[in-house]
């Protein structure tokens, strides 16, 4: 990789609770290229979300450092595990409210691209979870981010709507490629979307294995990703053999 946009070094991250402290992350060294999609894969509760929050700047209580290209953190679009939309604002308003300037054109373009145009005047409470997640993805893209952080954006969706949402995410990404970190516990999904897969081991989480997704597999559809993931699972990798397809 020629260019580096972020090197996230987390020597140690403690999770403090009344009974004491527990190490959740240790010795993480993550390097990300400017247009690269990296998937963080690992079982639930292993610290993937914590790492994402550290990179998002929402958690500064850790030993280590974030080295950004150009010094300061760039614009970051975050898709949280829950959609976290403002329920009292319409779908379109949820997008335009986070825009740094008052140009609603980008919001409208994304509403079209992600198949949300017909629900733009609805309130998030009127949407299904899948649609609400898609709005959250559109919102993250709308600020023209240099980095996208996606925390299990397709979890607990039925197979069909997860598939649609993944395809729409890729469409939006192709129109405006950015660096992205995708947290997921689904290896097939990771193979479908990412250039590189980092498998986290548990307790405390470290990067256990790094897999480069070959060009011919990457973003080439569900079937090939599924085969690739099955192949990986057959190896020494022990991951939940849950598949989304």
């Amino acid at each position: 990789m020629a260019e580096v946009m972020l090197r996230a070094l987390v020597r140690r991250k403690l999770y403090r609770h009344p009974a004491g402290a527990r190490v959740v992350l240790e010795g993480i060294d993550l390097v990300l290229g400017p247009k690269e999609i990296v998937a963080l894969v690992g079982p639930s509760g292993c610290g993937k979300t914590t790492l994402l929050r550290i990179i998002a700047g929402l958690d500064r209580d850790f030993e280590g450092e974030l080295a950004w290209r150009g010094g300061a953190p760039p614009r970051i679009g975050v898709v949280f595990q829950e959609p976290r939309l403002l329920p009292w604002r319409t779908v379109r308003r949820n997008l335009t409210l986070v825009l740094p300037t008052d140009e609603a054109g980008e919001a409208d373009r994304l509403l079209h691209a992600l198949g949300l145009w017909h629900v733009r005047e609805m309130f998030p409470t009127e949407l299904s979870l899948g649609m609400a997640r898609r709005v959250a993805i559109a919102r993250a893209f709308s600020i023209a981010p240099a980095l996208l952080l996606l925390d299990e954006p397709f979890v607990s969706l039925d197979a069909a709507s997860a598939e649609t949402s993944r395809a729409l995410l890729l469409t939006a990404w192709r129109q405006r490629p950015t660096a992205a970190i995708l947290v997921t516990h689904d290896l097939t999904e990771a193979a479908m979307l990412a250039d590189r897969i980092l498998v986290l081991s548990t307790g405390p989480a470290r990067i256990g294995r790094e897999i480069n997704v070959p060009k011919e597999i990457r973003r080439a559809g569900a079937a090939r990703a599924e085969a690739f993931a099955a192949n990986l699972r057959g190896g020494e990798l022990l991951l939940p053999s849950r598949s989304s397809i």
Binding site: G57, L58, F80, L86, E126, I143
Partner: protein, 252 residues
């Protein structure tokens, strides 16, 4: 409910008011006593006092006091409640004082303030504010404690500025609490304003009621009461309820 019966809500409301007035009229005619005048006598008294200008004048003065006390106590009480909900240290420091003030009889506050600061307009309104402030603070504090951290975090990660965050993320979550505080606030404030007027002012509805009490003129007492209630109810219908409906439009 109302929809199933096929009635418009306003029709049910009007009908219940008319039924009450008829019942009152009937009771008045049966009693034939100056201690229970019929509704028609009270309405005539209202019309007469309106024509002479005495009722509108005193009503306006009382309403002005209610308005000032309401605005000041809502602003101060909300600020205090929000601060207490957000900063735990402040909450611990002030919590017992808020409870003390909450349980202090309104009459004691009014009398002491008149004694210490003199019988003037500022003291009168100040005494009302001090009576209402703690309950507003307690209500808004609950709202502040219930703020959704996930949404605040979202606003932070998208670098929303302070004012848009307050306006679009924080305030909508506080609306139900603000409406609850406003509604109970109006009810408490107008009762206390009347006591304040009765004890230390020479105008306003409270003062007039004191006057008519000394003359045992129940008709006039009821005339002022009904006029005031009508105004307060009108406020509820034309201002509070539509505002609340607008603010909770997004709820399914």
């Amino acid at each position: 409910m109302t929809r199933r019966i096929g009635w418009r809500p306003s029709a049910a409301r009007i009908l219940s008011v008319v039924a009450f007035l008829l019942l009152w009229e009937l009771a008045g005619w049966i009693a034939q006593s100056r201690l229970l005048p019929p509704a028609s006598a009270v309405l005539v008294a209202i019309a007469r006092d309106c024509a002479s200008g005495v009722l509108p004048y005193n009503l306006a003065i009382t309403l002005a006091r209610v308005a000032v006390a309401f605005v000041v106590s809502m602003l101060l009480g909300s600020a205090l409640g929000l601060a207490m909900g957000v900063w735990r240290g402040l909450d611990l420091a002030l919590d017992s004082w808020v409870t003390v003030l909450l349980n202090m009889p309104a009459l004691v506050v009014i009398v002491l303030m008149y004694v210490w600061f003199g019988m003037n307009e500022a003291t009168a309104v100040g005494a009302v504010v001090l009576n209402k402030l703690p309950s507003t603070a307690v209500t808004i504090r609950e709202g502040a404690r219930a703020l959704d951290r996930g949404l605040l975090e979202m606003a932070r990660s998208f670098r929303m500025r302070r004012w848009p965050t307050i306006r679009h993320v924080v305030l909508p979550q506080l609306y139900p609490y603000l409406f609850a505080a406003s509604r109970s606030g109006l009810a408490i404030i107008w009762k206390i304003v009347l006591v304040v007027e009765l004890l230390g002012r020479s105008n306003g509805v409270g003062f007039r009621i004191q006057l008519y009490f000394q003359m045992f003129d129940v008709t006039e007492i009821l005339a002022y009461t009904v006029a005031f209630l009508a105004v307060v109810q009108g406020l509820e219908w034309v201002a509070l309820q539509p505002l609340e409906r607008r603010a909770s439009r997004w709820r399914r």
